[in-house]
């Protein structure tokens, strides 16, 4: 289970929050001072690796006619390539972590990724809504994705009974869930728009972007690449499907582990009105969770294994998070802020625990359980 020294995180007064902001700004400034050629070489190396994996994977899929073994390797290589493209490259580039390079191929304003969700939509929902309003129930649509009840902030409904199944389906179709996320929020096809939701883009635009990006993605993996394989059409099509599914499971699992293990805090809108920068930082630490693991694991998660650091410093090149997390943990301890971290398996087990716990009609969480599902 996730480690927690104190049962509940300490509440900080304004003065402490101000000092916390100064301390964390210091960590960020120190990292940003070092950003330069090292980061350029790193991201270029990862992109070269991703391109090589993709090309090798697509070749192996076609060679699958010689032996099923090739097909299997092809699926693994292609899904690794898609995971790198989405996580360590796409997600981080879209946060503007490499904009300072002035390289149009790795710039947040122009980058497009191998995912059904268009970059533009992703930036609005993820970069803006999720990162600004992390875990504020009602403002951060990523908390439960409007499908899952993950805290006692929501009242129980019948459909929550089978929400573990819903979660598995969401994981399987994850890229489509993400692509549809913004449209669902704006209720483009059905229902009413939630009152008070500010929209930065009109409905027609939303539909257009959704259809053009998803059409391209479907054409690529299920029409053009299979056609290029000629007689091995079906084999390539199935290989692409398998690679997409593996990528979906992986990204979904990592993202759930970064946000929904037990001991992650939720907040109400009222608590965060006119919040200070210090409070925003405080909320980011309490609203995220880390995963420990070897270097390759961090890379395959796009360093979202350091979700806490990512939420504190979304525009710092992500490969620096592992190093930065040491300093962040010292600061968190100094202020008595619970820092949620653990191994992949323990964190994932606690995600499952949360999803299942709230599928039952439990009311307000009290007593011992309150430490597992804490509120600010």
């Amino acid at each position: 289970m996730a480690t927690l020294d104190t049962k509940f995180s300490q509440k900080l007064n304004e003065e402490q929050l101000e000092q916390l902001a100064i301390d964390l700004d210091g960590v960020k400034a120190k990292a940003m001072e070092q950003v330069g050629s090292t980061d350029e070489r790193y991201i270029k190396k990862i992109v070269r690796l991703q391109r090589s994996l993709e090309i090798a994977g697509r070749i192996c899929l076609v060679l699958g006619f010689m032996s099923l073994y090739f097909w299997g390797v092809g699926v693994l290589l292609l899904s690794a390539s898609k995971i790198l493209d989405n996580m360590e490259i796409g997600h981080n580039v879209l946060h503007g972590q490499y904009d300072w390079m002035n390289d149009p191929t790795l710039n947040s304003q122009t980058f497009e990724w191998d995912n059904a969700c268009s970059s533009e939509s992703w930036k609005r929902v993820h970069n803006y809504e999720h990162h600004t309003y992390t875990n504020i129930v009602g403002k951060d649509r990523d908390f439960g994705y409007g499908l899952l009840r993950l805290s006692d902030d929501f009242s129980w409904r019948l459909r929550n009974t089978w929400q573990f199944g819903t979660y598995l389906v969401l994981s399987t179709l994850f890229q489509w869930g993400i692509a549809f996320h913004e449209m669902a929020g704006e209720r483009v096809f059905f229902g009413k728009k939630k009152a008070g939701r500010e929209s930065h883009v009109d409905v027609e635009q939303l539909k257009k972007v959704f259809y053009s990006k998803s059409t391209r993605q479907i054409l690529k993996d299920y029409v053009i690449f299979p056609l290029l394989a000629g007689p091995f059409f079906v084999m390539v099509l199935l290989g692409n499907l398998a690679a997409n599914l593996l990528r979906n499971f992986w990204t979904s699992t990592i993202i759930f582990c970064g946000h929904f293990p037990t001991e992650v805090y939720t907040f109400t809108e009222k608590e965060c009105e006119n919040e200070s920068r210090g409070h925003w930082y405080y909320r980011q630490i309490l609203g995220s969770a880390n995963l420990t693991g070897p270097k390759w694991f961090h890379i395959l998660t796009g360093h979202l294994s350091c979700q806490v650091e990512h939420h504190l410093f979304p525009e710092v090149p992500a490969h620096r998070y592992v190093e930065m997390s040491k300093e962040v943990q010292v600061i968190a301890a100094k202020y008595g802020i619970a820092y949620n971290t653990g191994s992949f398996f323990s964190q994932y087990a606690s995600v499952v625990q949360r999803v299942i716990y709230f599928s039952f009609p439990v009311g307000k969480v009290t007593g011992k359980k309150a430490a597992l599902y804490p509120r600010f």
Partner: protein, 370 residues
């Protein structure tokens, strides 16, 4: 047509606008050259001119939009260099002649070290022979006026201050020999012993009767005055005058010449390069130009408003999200000028770069792509 089709295919298959962009990380070429926006330029020679100026000779190859490189004397180019992992563009005047380019496809840039600058002091030591850089097509209209070619017996007066000599060097080397009916005069103001490129100018004067060179020392001769002008022409009304140098020098000389009866149309001024941050006067009104909307806004010295607020106040369409520097929704291109990042409490560079409008306050005149 074929291009559009391959780009569509590349976008569909690889989520990149071009196949080149997909393979870009495998190439060592400067990104703008690879993407076909700039010419490839190989460093041929590096030469010190004086304490704070050096010359960089570049051999140009490749095509941009099917066009080979060409320039008119007096024009400048943008040079793209990579410093600490970051591509930076800076404008520099071409100081070499047309003949040099026709002979061996090289141009020379004569560069002043802006000591507080991010590029010019670093570049001289960072670059070595054989390095590959990107250069833009030639830009600018500080070129010899065609009208003066037609009219017989025209007087052309060039007035240079300090590093403002660079376009004149190119103009003179290229035009003096080819226009024997035009009398060229150069008044070149600089500190004693700091006249750059004077060797070739002196040689040019010895060779051609229609060129007069006046090397003037700031300490001894002061600023450009009526006496300096009267000493080189008795017919100012029928002259064309070109001025390039520090802003204060250009302002005072312009006023002087208009007072002396020079028609405004015969006056040509070139403001070149980027102001180094050291020279920026922080206590003045500044002009924020929204380039896409084509709107200019003037803000006063105690402006605290961010670029996003200024855009919204003036009905300039701007994307925004968190309004606190997190989400990057408001990111846009600053073409020139210095902005203050109210979150990191740092000043930006002077050149082109991406900035977050919601936390950036203009500090100098700023041009922004909004």
């Amino acid at each position: 047509m074929l291009n559009v089709l391959t780009n569509k295919l590349s976008l569909t298959l690889f989520n990149n606008d071009t196949f080149k962009a997909y393979f870009a990380p495998f190439s060592a070429k400067p990104i703008s050259v690879l993407m076909g926006e700039m010419f490839a330029a190989t460093v041929v020679k590096m030469q010190t001119e004086n304490n704070d100026m050096y010359s960089l000779t570049l051999a140009i190859s490749g095509k941009v939009n099917k066009q080979g490189f060409s320039f008119q004397p007096g024009q400048y180019i943008e040079l793209q260099v990579k410093k600490n992992g970051s591509y930076i563009k800076r404008p520099f005047t071409i100081s070499s002649s047309l003949a040099q380019f026709q002979q061996d496809k090289t141009i020379t840039l004569t560069i002043k070290k802006q000591f507080e600058g991010r590029v010019t002091p670093w570049l001289s030591s960072a670059i070595k022979q054989g390095d590959l850089l990107g250069i833009s097509p030639a830009k600018g209209d500080f070129v010899l006026n065609r009208l003066s070619k037609k009219a017989a017996k025209k007087e052309v007066i060039f007035i240079a201050g300090g590093s403002g000599i660079t376009p004149f060097h190119s103009l003179l080397l290229s035009h003096v020999a080819n226009n024997p009916t035009i009398n060229f005069t150069l008044l070149y103001f600089a500190r004693a012993n700091q006249h750059a490129l004077n060797g070739s100018l002196v040689a040019l004067e010895l060779e051609h009767n229609n060129f007069t060179l006046k090397l003037l020392q700031r300490e001894r001769d002061g600023h450009c005055s009526a006496a300096h002008i009267n000493a080189v022409t008795s017919d100012l009304q029928h002259s064309e005058v070109y001025i390039c140098g520090p802003n204060s020098m250009m302002d005072s000389t312009r006023e002087l010449l208009l007072d002396m009866g020079l028609p405004e149309g015969a006056l040509h001024l070139e403001q070149f390069g980027l102001a180094s941050f050291r020279n920026v006067d922080l206590n003045v009104v500044r002009n924020v130009s929204f380039a896409i909307t084509n709107k200019d806004v003037v803000v006063d010295e105690d402006n605290q408003k961010t670029l996003l607020m200024l855009a919204e106040d003036n009905v300039v369409p701007a994307k925004y999200g968190c309004r606190m520097g997190i989400c990057q929704e408001c990111k846009c291109k600053k073409v020139s000028g210095v902005v203050y990042n109210s979150q990191t409490k740092t000043y930006s560079d002077t050149g082109e770069e991406d900035i977050q409008a919601c936390i950036s306050v203009p500090v100098t005149d700023v041009v922004i792509n909004l």
